[in-house]
């Protein structure tokens, strides 16, 4: 079920009313309702893959209990490996089998031993990369004794499948989300209103910004040879806003929806396009995944301690694995490696933490230096996005060669050029709101808080009507495929 669908617009109020009016007396009933709702939400897409979630949840539930019963290190390690093996095994089979099979075949062919790659007709279950990481974090934290294992099977299964963030995150830590299933939830008017506001903002990002950008991005990337370099440049910039609007929009809707049920999910994006260097960008982009890799991969590898060689190795591992997490394609690996290259000088010069505070704090505009730093970071990020969006490495290089040509000075040659201008107008307006709200959880969190209520409601109404009037053709969320 898509957040931007009529189905969800009907589903959400029904679950909300049942949750607060029918099951509100009993926490277990509320958790059970969330579990059923989450499974219905997932089954709407394909009920067959529910079994994977159930199996993955069951394995980690029993691993958790097993870990609580033993202090023997060998046994504990074996239990942890079981969880990792099952979760990574599912992910490896459904997401990476064909990639590895074809890559090995190509490699052997290059070495003079050609053979036919066996390719399976595998459907990638929606959200598998998200819920496997979430459930694995539980087992790792229990193994590290950072978290007490739970015996409440309904609460645990609800935690793994919690519908607001089930299919595209934020990837929640068990230490943050699981305890919330054991606390009595009380309806809070302000939290719920805030949730609705964040949902509205998320829908705007997704339907007005991302879905409209998608039309031109698809044209530019599917047939780059048909377009001038200036159009291709617009295509890349639009992709930067498409992926940001799409994914951060999803996260906003997820966080807002969770708030309606009394849950607090972690922030997943923090105005990444206002970053002054790539290290800041990665602290602000897909925060739940970056911190997951930091805590469970990067730090265990040694992090930024040790020799320069170790630092370089760890950075490349973390970025390449992160790229590969996004999809079974060399383009994602290249994208990850390119970001590692961007990041490395900052790390080696120990300048990777120079921009921790929000940009231009307490000021209306950034300084000239900050402005150019933001522009440079955005430009190199866009360059990397080409590899992320292209269907293959050769397509990415073709796109780049066409982009750096004389026609960069020609007028863009998209057929519906007036739509491009309208979209640029929306993007500028969107950036202005984001800039204004850059030290809040989401851009319109406090926007107009001093206005009289009717004026504030008129603003929300206008936003809703903009979504209705200018919402692009319904497109599935990009991160569903990861």
């Amino acid at each position: 079920m898509l957040f931007n669908s009529i189905d969800f617009a009907i589903f959400l109020p029904i679950v909300f009313l049942l949750y607060w009016f029918v099951t509100n007396k009993n926490l277990k009933f509320q958790n059970f309702l969330l579990l059923v709702a989450s499974y219905v939400f997932y089954a709407w897409w394909d009920w067959r893959f529910l079994s994977l979630i159930v199996f993955s949840s069951a394995v980690d539930y029993f691993v958790g209990i097993g870990l609580s019963k033993t202090e023997k290190q060998q046994k504990r390690k074996a239990l942890l490996l079981l969880s990792v093996f099952v979760n990574i095994g599912f992910l490896g089979f459904f997401k990476y089998f064909n990639f590895f099979s074809e890559s090995f075949a190509e490699a052997f062919t290059l070495l003079g031993h050609p053979f036919e790659a066996s390719r399976l007709n595998i459907i990638l279950p929606v959200g598998i990369s998200f819920y496997t990481f979430q459930t694995m974090s539980y087992s790792i934290d229990v193994y590290r004794k950072k978290l007490e294992p739970t015996r409440d099977v309904v609460a645990f299964f609800s935690f793994v499948s919690f519908f607001p963030q089930l299919v595209a995150g934020p990837i929640e830590r068990a230490t943050n989300l699981l305890p919330q299933f054991f606390k009595k939830r009380k309806f809070d008017y302000f939290a719920a209103m805030d949730g609705l506001r964040q949902i509205l903002w998320g829908l705007f990002k997704k339907m007005v910004i991302a879905d409209n950008c998608a039309q031109f991005v698809n044209l530019a990337f599917n047939n780059p040879q048909d377009y001038s370099a200036s159009s291709l440049a617009i295509g890349v910039v639009f992709f930067a806003f498409q992926i940001y609007g799409d994914f951060s929009g999803y996260s906003d809707i997820a966080i807002g929806t969770a708030r309606l049920f009394g849950f607090n999910l972690m922030k997943n994006f923090s105005y990444p396009y206002f970053s002054r260097d790539i290290a800041e960008f990665w602290r602000r982009w897909h925060i739940s995944l970056s911190t997951w890799f930091r805590d469970y991969v990067y730090i265990p590898l040694g992090g930024s301690r040790g020799s320069n060689w170790l630092k370089v190795r760890n950075i490349f591992i973390i970025f390449i694995v992160s790229g590969f997490w996004h999809g079974a394609n060399w383009t994602f690996i290249f994208w990850g490696a390119l970001n590692a290259l961007y990041f490395l000088p900052l790390l080696l010069l120990k300048r990777n933490r120079q921009h921790i505070e929000v940009v231009a704090k307490d000021r209306f505009l950034p300084s000239v230096t900050d402005f150019f730093k933001i522009l440079l970071t955005f430009t190199i990020t866009c360059f990397a996005w080409i590899f992320f969006r292209a269907n293959s490495l050769s397509s990415a290089f073709e796109y780049i060669s066409l982009l750096f040509s004389k026609s960069i000075f020609d007028a863009p040659n998209f057929l519906a050029l007036n739509k491009v201008y309208v979209l640029i107008f929306f993007i500028v307006g969107f950036l202005m709101l984001e800039w204004k709200g850059r030290d809040t959880n989401y851009a319109i969190e406090n926007f107009g808080e001093s206005w009289p209520k009717p004026v504030r409601y008129a603003f929300y109404y206008s936003l809703a009507m903009l979504i209705f009037f200018f919402g692009g053709k319904e497109q599935a969320f990009i991160y569903f495929q990861f």
Binding site: Y189, F468, F469, G471, G472
Partner: protein, 298 residues
Amino acid sequence: MKRFLLESTLFSVAIIASVYFVFLQADGKSDPFYSRTTTPKQASLILGTSKAAQGLMPEVLNPYLETDIYNFSFTVAHSPFGPAYLSAIEKKLKPETKDGVFIITVDPWSISSDGKDPNNEAEFGESKSFMGIAKSFSSKPNISYLLNSYDDNYIKILLNFSLMEVHNDGWLEVFPPMDSASVKNRITENILEQKVKLESYQFSQTRFEYLKKTIETLKKCGKVYLVRLPVYTEIAEIEDELIPDFNSKIKDLANAEELPYLNLMNSDTKFTFTDGIHLYKDSAKDVSAGVGRWISKE
């Protein structure tokens, strides 16, 4: 909670009411199909693809037919002969119709299909479009169509600017630039496009069977006439390449079903086309008058 429910309900009602108001404004300029899904059920229909949608004018035909005929033709992507179009026709047809007039236009594309197996109904693309999913073709506003099948931004409904208009009788009028250079460009583009399509399309026996079923369904409701509309010479050559024995197939069908068949191919020099495929309005008027005279003589 009461306050939250009250405010969120009022806000939702305001949005839903505004959306409904906008939907009420949708008309023949909103897109090339919508208004045909909103007009009342009809007793007489013109059927086919976009050639018929633009080329046959009910306003011109009506005096000859002595009845009000409605143009229920769409495009080759939406209304080739198949289960979806037949079901839509049945939904559009006034129940208990006995003395209707039905002009079925035929061409090779409307009984062809692409995909691996041209006879596999499951692969027919129109079933996934509004033609296959619309529950009604006579409700105004057609909410289901607007929510599921409307392809443009909804702002277009309020902007009174369009290069086409579907009239109340279903005829689609288009307003393209008609200078010779523009027309030539469009013809060249269409020839190229149809040559590319030719590589993936082939005759579909299943679609041909559905053409028969459509005829048999409509014969119970009145008189049926088969018409092949003219196209530009080079487009006609491509159509001949697609199904070389098309005319004999249709003649045999017309004989078997005891229907009159009017083939207007090879008369393209008399007519003006907007793009080699679709008749321009002046020529559409002439062709419609010709078809009307032919029917009145039959």
